[in-house]
Amino acid sequence: MKLLREKLDKIKPHFQKGGRFEKLHSTFDAFETFLFVPDRVTDRGAHIRDAIDMKRTMIIVVVAMIPTLLFGMWNVGYQHNIAFGIDAGFWETFWYGFLEVLPIIIVSYVSGLAVEFAFAQIRGHEVNEGFLVTGMLIPLIVPVDVPLWMVSVATIFAVIIGKEAFGGTGMNILNPALTARAFLFFAYPIYMSGDDVWISGIMNGEGMVDGFSGATPLAHAAQGNIESVPSAMEMFIGTIPGSIGETSTIAILLGAALLWFTGIGSVRIMASVFAGGLVMGLILNAFAANPFMEIPAWEHLIMGGFAFGAVYMATDPVTASQTNRGKYIYGFLIGLLAILIRVLNPAFPEGMMLAILFMNVFAPLIDYNVMQANIRRRIKRASEGSDN
């Protein structure tokens, strides 16, 4: 450690103002602060500061995604085995999925971080840690057979248009990972929907088990094949086709528990998204005009990307409502809209992505109204209080 520190101190002047590699200051800073917490001390204001920083926060979110990632890798192998009638052990199955998913993760991180570093350099900022999370989210919300170049293009698009165009981390309006997903969805619809993209290797259809359908539970439900929808237990555990990280509700709940416990993910948002989804499910049940509308309201919460979106996407603090009351409204409307789109709009098989992006745009409006209410309340209190 000491040796490493001495080395860093030795080369540091080259990257500072007037140094040979002054232009690479942000890059050096990113690596240095990755290795060592800076020795900067407080000089004004509070003399002590909480141990938490952005790096720790982001790492915890990444850790919270690990259950879904590991399950997703195994499930990729498992679904592949079913489709091709392969009989494989646990580790073999996992290994297959690992090899399928790892390239997507690498491509997402490399292309995203390249853009991040470049922008930090141009702006003279520090490299922000936010992409550590985005870079992991993107692989988790794409189908496993997505071509790698598409992942790369979508990631670059999301970071530049979704984030840097607005001023970088903390300033963006749309969730960058969902921006990437939406880009893929609208630019390459054939690769992003239908029944053939969710299971590794069935695009060309060779060697598949006869009569096998790779459709997701939502696709079955939308077509009215309610009897083909897997059992609630299967959907809860996650042994179903779908985007890599979204299928297992158990794994997602593990992540949610960590985010809630550490106080990093907003439990207000998570709970109200589920509440909103449940309410819309019940409303649809009440009308029950087609088989999809008859699906029990609670089952909607474990289908598709609903749980994943509620826990990892809607809670993105930058793009969500920032006020406590606003968070309830924001989350509730996401849940409501997601199920509404999912069930009643035939153009989109899943509504979570669009619901979150839509509410991202409305979050500032919600906050504005919450603030106005606060202002009115406080003015009223102040005038009541002045009895002399």
């Binding site: 204001g45 720790r56 926060t57 106080g263 920032q322 102040a382 209080g385 002399n388």
Partner: protein, 450 residues
């Protein structure tokens, strides 16, 4: 009618080094100082020069903007020097104490038999007027203005803060005299707010002419700003004053004894103090004598006040005008390897992102490291968890950053000063300088409204 207010939001940072309830009377130090930087919004004009003899209570300087407001010497002796900084700004007026204490005479009197004007003129001349703080903005009140109520927070919830039940023991007469002074200054109430978590001390119990209110909850429940917010909220109009309990004693002594006696009991606290205890000393005293042979190794941060809103002083610095606490903690100027992966058993955090949550009763040695780099705002809702006021603090800070006066006003800048948002600064993941941003906002507001 007394009120009971229970607050849930806030945070008690568990630090090592609370002062033991033992009162020590150390030798008086040689040097004392009055620091104009302890007051906001004044422009000092000197009345004395080096080598001038002074008594306790002799004016040292006055405020150019409010020429009636004098600042006086806490001890008798002679002026040693006037330290000036950039653009000849006066930093410190240093006084060397003489062998015996000689006081300026202001005459004994019963405050209840004096008119409000007579009391104000005594306070101004004796230099005790600046002990009063005005909300909004935490300024010295204008002599011609009167508050709609006066607040005394009888307890302090800041980290390692002195225990006022101990500090105020046996000073009932002085306290009552001080309260009588305050009663003459307002048509409204004098609120004495005490901690609702433990039994009332006899000094507070016997105080008359006040409204006793009970507050309970974590820091900042003891801050006057929080208490004003819950009992007599202010907006654009209306002024409220507040004063610390020991300063009420100083007011009382002026009328009981006819002299300016800035004696104060100061808690010496912090993990790096060998024997944290209470010391009987005088406002502006050098910390030399109380720190001598009583702190650990080098590399220390000396703070006049508490760790959240106190001021950094050198190891031979002076206790601030308003402070009843001196804190010594380690500096944090070192690199920590891979802090983001550290299990963090010995690092306190308001979040549960470190495994220190496993030991809820542990006390910490907390150094001055930033624990990370400053970033744009990402996390939300952090400030609201530690601010027991109906104020959306993060939006207020954003309004100040973009210099939106209307918004600042509407979001509650009138109700807070730095100490009220100090915990927000502590917990901020983005390491935002909340207190200095807030002060810059307040300065904008003062310019705008004057």
């Amino acid at each position: 009618m007394s009120k009971v207010i229970k607050l849930k939001k806030g945070l008690d940072i568990p630090l090592k080094g609370k002062a033991e309830r033992i009162l020590i009377k150390p030798d008086m130090p040689e040097l004392f100082a009055v620091k104009p930087s302890d007051f906001h919004g004044i422009r000092p004009k000197m009345l004395v020069h080096p080598d001038d003899p002074v008594k306790a209570g002799t004016p040292l300087f006055f405020d150019k903007y409010n020429p009636d407001v004098y600042f006086t010497s806490p001890v008798s002796g002679k002026i040693v020097e006037v330290n000036r900084g950039a653009r000849r700004k006066i930093l410190e007026v240093i006084i060397k104490k003489g062998d015996t204490m000689i006081y300026e005479e202001f005459g004994k009197a019963d405050p209840l038999s004096l008119s409000s004007e007579e009391i104000v003129s005594r306070l101004l001349k004796s230099g005790l007027w600046p002990l009063l703080k005005q909300r909004p903005f935490g300024l010295i009140p204008k002599p011609e203005q009167r508050p709609r109520s006066v607040f005394i927070s009888g307890f302090d919830t800041a980290p390692l803060a002195p225990d006022y039940d101990f500090v105020m023991k046996d000073s009932g007469d002085e306290f009552q005299a001080g309260i009588n002074v305050l009663r003459q200054l307002t048509e409204g109430k004098v609120h004495l707010n005490v901690c609702g978590d433990y039994p009332l001390s006899s000094v507070y119990e016997n105080a008359t002419g006040v409204q006793l209110n009970y507050f309970s909850g974590p820091h900042p429940a003891g801050n006057p700003g929080v208490q004003i917010h819950h009992l007599d909220p202010i907006h654009k109009k209306g002024k409220v004053w507040h004063i610390a309990p020991q300063d009420v004693l100083i007011l009382g002594r002026l009328f009981l004894n006819g002299v300016v006696d800035f004696s104060r009991t100061v808690a010496l606290t912090g993990s790096e103090v060998l024997k944290p205890r209470y010391y009987k000393t005088v406002m502006g005293a050098s910390v030399n004598t109380i720190l001598k042979d009583n702190v650990k190794k080098a590399g220390l941060r000396y703070i006049s006040g508490n760790v959240l809103s106190g001021k950094k002083i050198p190891s031979d610095g002076f206790i601030g005008f308003f402070d009843s606490q001196v804190t010594v903690i380690p500096e944090g100027n070192y690199h920590r390897f891979m802090g983001w992966a550290d299990p963090g058993l010995d690092r306190f955090s308001a979040s549960r992102a470190f495994f220190s949550w496993l030991m809820p009763s542990r006390k910490y040695v907390h150094d001055t490291n930033y624990n990370g780099g400053p970033r744009a705002y990402v996390m939300t809702g952090e400030y609201e968890k530690v601010l027991p006021m109906d104020i959306i603090a993060q939006q207020l800070i954003k309004a100040i950053i973009v210099e939106d006066i209307d918004k600042m006003e509407n979001l509650g800048i009138y109700e807070v000063i730095e100490e009220d948002l100090a915990l927000c600064e502590y917990v901020c993941t983005s390491k935002t300088e909340v207190q200095s941003i807030l002060r810059s906002g307040i300065e904008m507001m003062i310019k705008e409204t004057s």
